[in-house]
């Protein structure tokens, strides 16, 4: 069954198992590897993409569910908020192993897109679904606050 959706601004049609998770469709069939596999059950957030601007766990989103939808991955991030987050991530040297950071950044961009001045509590709530085993959480928090300041 063919599924058509918009990926990073371009229309794509995939003839693949409609139950295939969006993550693996994008990684294996399309070849964009910035979104990572961490758990396969929406527990860790490494696979986070935006669907219609909302953060979703693509490892647990069937391909069929994004028919006709706009999907954005780390490779397609653009705009003021994305730039502010990326800049803050580099400045604070958030990443250690870096594997979870695409997902962290996708969640942070979604948070700042809807809340320009998040409190620590807002950050906890928005970022709780993204695990970092290097525990870079101190710097994730600092980078989000910093990005918020540059967007103010």
């Amino acid at each position: 069954m063919a599924v058509t959706f918009t990926l990073n601004g371009k229309s794509v049609t995939l003839d693949a198992d409609p139950d295939m998770p969006l993550l693996w469709a994008v990684r294996d069939e399309i070849g964009l590897t910035g979104s990572k596999f961490g758990c396969g059950m929406a527990q860790c957030g490494a696979c986070t993409m935006h669907v219609e601007g909302e953060p979703v766990r693509s490892c647990s989103t069937p391909l069929a569910a994004v028919e006709g939808q706009k999907v954005t991955t780390i490779e397609g991030l653009a705009g003021k908020v994305a730039k502010a987050v990326e800049t803050a991530w580099i400045k604070h040297e958030v990443a250690q192993c870096g594997y979870c950071q695409s997902g962290q950044i996708m969640s942070a961009v979604a948070l700042l897109s809807s809340n320009r001045k998040p409190s620590d509590g807002d950050i906890d709530e928005a970022m709780q679904g993204n695990i970092c085993r290097c525990a870079t959480y101190v710097r994730i928090r600092a980078a989000i606050h910093d990005a918020a300041r540059t967007l103010a």
């Binding site: 059950m41 870096g98 695409s102 950050i123 906890d124 709780q128 695990i131 085993r133 959480y137």
Partner: protein, 733 residues
């Protein structure tokens, strides 16, 4: 996994984990050249271009391209700990390069050029050794490359080498001649490396001790960093392996019909560790594996549960173990004690659970094999892959990519995931194969931090002094049964089981540390900070129990017992001062301290815990002080201590693994929980200034946090905490 595995020279790998005294000797030996002296260079007679077969190499570690980029080949894996940046900083310093021109990439597997000097003849990363073993080597490499650039310029400009200056990647002469590294690189590579080089005076360091930008920050903030999971080769297939549900189980028979009927499944092959489903993509491989029918032979499998195993450990702990340390006369001291304090401490199995589960890509061609992995034990993996493929090690090329975390998991002596990948690629035979472990495979796949039981007993005299200390540890050996047992297990003592306990620094006249090594079929492995993950907790919490029983302040007691250990004292005093030790706290707030040396680095942490009226509690703040010798990159040191604290705190508050009838009860992050952002405390890291040779910082931040938190809770609640994880809720004081 026996005779084919490389055995390093006696005592060599042991250097990574050896007792303090011999480790210190090793460090002195490796670093006999003191700062600023003229030192020899062991491969001086031949240049690197000839050694590496790559004409562009100035030394085995440095390549300068005509585009003026300087690439440092890292013999160590970058798994988040900042090794690429730290190692490149040492080179850039001696080379007088501009930081902006510096790049880093993984070195190929080659024990002759890239052995970890702390591991003898093995190329690998672990034991927080990357900086320590590379310090002299890379300073010399940088200085050598600089001298070759200067010699090339002197030749071209027909001026004395001594008149040439180098700064920020540019060579200059007073005549006005100037050239960049890139312009001189080709000519420099033709120079014979000097036999002796002069190292820079540390007073002139411009990068070491300052902040330089992490080399991987941009790639890792844009989704561009390449991990093994991201490798894409033409025709590449993806494989998942069905492994035995019990450790030690074997394939009896399997029915591949249903798996092969799944669209996209290409083949089903048996390997030594199970049955692999090879498919055109991950999803097909996963569906294929779900459809696969395997019958297991569990006759030799481990069938005990963790509760039963722990009960056996407790029974064993009643008997004396093998001596790991014996000072004075412990029995006499106990006989004459005014008071005896006893406690036991329990620790569960723990999975490493790096965010990138184990994975690798293996490509076979006519005369060799190429592997892509976040490879942590390059020459061991090369040897093991060669063995299963019937190749010579040099026919196996290893491409070391970034690893999405490891915490020790990727450094295993049997190369479990590399061997699986190689066996599947060989059995399938049609195309390159990418092996992926799912999270369930990772959590249930073994090689855990072992479960341990500790008993501690102290004799106290009438004045409240500790006159004897008896510490008994029961648990599996990480090294037993591996080829390293012969060199790293001495007199029945696996050093990794007792490190942090056998070298306890406290001034106690009579001391006995004993070990019972158990035989359990659950595979175990080193886990960030190894033995110190449990010994630091047992010793530091027990010391606070003694402090409470003898009405002494925990910091004052430690100061008294550490009088002859200035580096322990240095971090203890700094952490206590910065944390405001002794100052009153708001109601419901409590403080605890722990100090611990691991991998020749010293860390003290003060944890501040907030207790709610309902008994729930949270770690609000951790103040750490660290002494890891000359700080190469202070910001990476801070980052590693933050990370180590978060990693240790995860095991402090989250349940570990358990087994029922031999089966692991947990399977993914929903039931094997790890620390999340709302549980992360505020962290302050203070670095003790030092002129000592640099030591590691990837692991040493981890051990003190759990005991510091337990000690905080003990001080505020007057309860004892004798197992990890700590209870979610405690009774209010």
């Amino acid at each position: 996994m026996t005779e084919q595995t490389p055995i390093s020279r006696p005592g060599s790998l042991a250097d990574a984990k050896m007792p303090k005294a011999s480790r210190r000797r090793f460090l002195q030996g490796a670093g006999a050249a003191s700062l600023g002296l003229v030192v020899g260079f062991h491969w001086a007679p031949r240049n690197a271009a000839a050694m590496t077969g790559r004409p562009e190499m100035l030394t085995a570690f440095i390549r300068i391209a005509p585009d003026n980029t300087v690439t440092v080949l890292s013999k160590h894996l970058e798994m988040g700990q900042g090794s690429y940046t730290g190692l490149a900083t040492i080179v850039a310093e001696e080379l007088d390069a501009d930081w902006a021109q510096i790049r880093a990439e993984g070195a190929p597997a080659d024990a002759k050029l890239y052995a970890n000097l702390a591991f003898g003849t093995v190329q690998g990363t672990g034991g927080s050794t990357a900086i320590a073993n590379s310090w002299d080597q890379l300073r010399k490499a940088g200085a050598t490359a600089r001298a070759m650039l200067v010699a090339a310029a002197a030749q071209q400009w027909k001026v004395p080498a001594g008149e040439i200056t180098v700064a920020r990647g540019v060579l200059s002469h007073k005549s006005g001649k100037k050239a960049s590294f890139g312009q001189l690189a080709a000519a420099a590579a033709q120079q014979t490396p000097p036999a002796d080089v002069t190292l820079k005076d540390p007073a002139k360091f411009q990068y070491i001790g300052k902040k330089v930008a992490r080399l991987d920050a941009v790639a890792k903030s844009t989704g561009k960093a390449q991990y093994a999971l991201d490798v894409r080769l033409p025709g590449m297939a993806t494989a998942l392996v069905q492994r035995a549900p019990l450790f030690g189980g074997k394939v009896k028979s399997f029915d591949a019909a249903a798996a092969k009927a799944v669209p996209g499944v290409l083949d089903v092959v048996q390997i030594s560790n199970g049955v692999a489903v090879v498919a055109k993509n991950f999803w097909a491989a996963k569906l294929g594996r779900e459809a696969l029918q395997v019958e297991w032979d569990d006759s030799a499998a481990e069938k005990r549960g963790s509760e039963q195993i722990m009960a056996e450990y407790k029974e064993l702990a009643r008997q004396p173990g093998l001596p790991a340390r014996k000072d004075g006369d412990v029995d006499a001291a106990f006989a004459g004690a005014a008071k005896i304090i006893e406690a036991t401490y329990d620790f569960p199995y723990l999975a490493h659970a790096p965010m990138e589960p184990l994975d690798c890509v293996v490509k076979l061609d006519g005369d060799g094999c190429e592997i892509w992995a976040g490879d942590q034990f390059q020459t061991i993996d090369q040897m093991n892959a060669a063995r299963v493929l019937g190749l010579k090690p040099e026919q196996v090329k290893i491409n070391t990519l970034y690893a999405g975390g490891s915490f020790g998991r990727r450094a295993n002596i049997v190369s479990d995931y590399i061997v699986e990948g190689a066996e599947i690629a060989k059995a399938y035979g049609k195309a390159p194969v990418r092996l992926v472990w799912t999270r369930e495979d990772d959590i249930q796949g073994g090689r855990y931090r072992p479960m341990y039981h500790h008993t501690l007993k102290a004799a106290i005299d009438a004045q409240g002094n500790i006159t004897a200390w008896q510490h008994r540890i029961v648990g599996q050996s990480i090294l037993a049964g591996t080829p390293f047992e012969a060199v790293m297990v001495k007199n029945g003592i696996d050093h990794t089981s007792v490190e942090g306990a056998a070298n306890l620094p406290y001034a106690i006249p009579n001391m006995s540390v004993e070990l019972h090594t158990t035989k359990v079929g659950v595979p175990v492995l080193w886990w960030r900070s190894v033995g110190s993950t449990h010994t630091a907790f047992a010793t530091e919490v027990f010391l606070d129990e003694i402090a409470a029983a003898t009405r002494q302040d925990p910091v004052a007691l430690r100061r008294k017992l550490l009088a002859k250990h200035p580096r322990h004292l240095g971090v203890l005093n700094l952490a206590a001062e910065k944390a405001g030790w002794g100052k009153p706290l708001a109601k419901g707030r409590m403080r605890g301290v722990a100090v611990h040396e691991s991998f020749s680095s010293f860390v003290a942490e003060v944890a501040e815990v907030v207790l709610q009226p309902d008994g729930s509690w949270k770690v609000d703040r951790v103040v750490a002080a660290v002494d890891c010798g000359i700080p190469i990159n202070p910001d990476i040191i801070r980052a590693q201590v933050e990370s180590g604290i978060g990693f240790g705190l995860s095991a402090t508050i989250k349940p570990g693994l358990s087994l029922t009838d031999g089966r692991v009860d947990q399977s993914n992050f929903h039931d094997y929980e790890v620390l999340r952002i709302h549980e992360m405390p505020k962290i302050e890291v203070h670095i003790v200034p030092s002129k000592e040779k640099p030591t590691g910082i990837g692991e040493p931040g981890t051990p003190p946090v759990a005991p510091a938190v337990a000690n905080a809770l003990m001080s505020g609640t007057r309860q004892v905490f004798r197992a990890l994880p700590l209870p979610e809720a405690v009774k209010s004081a």
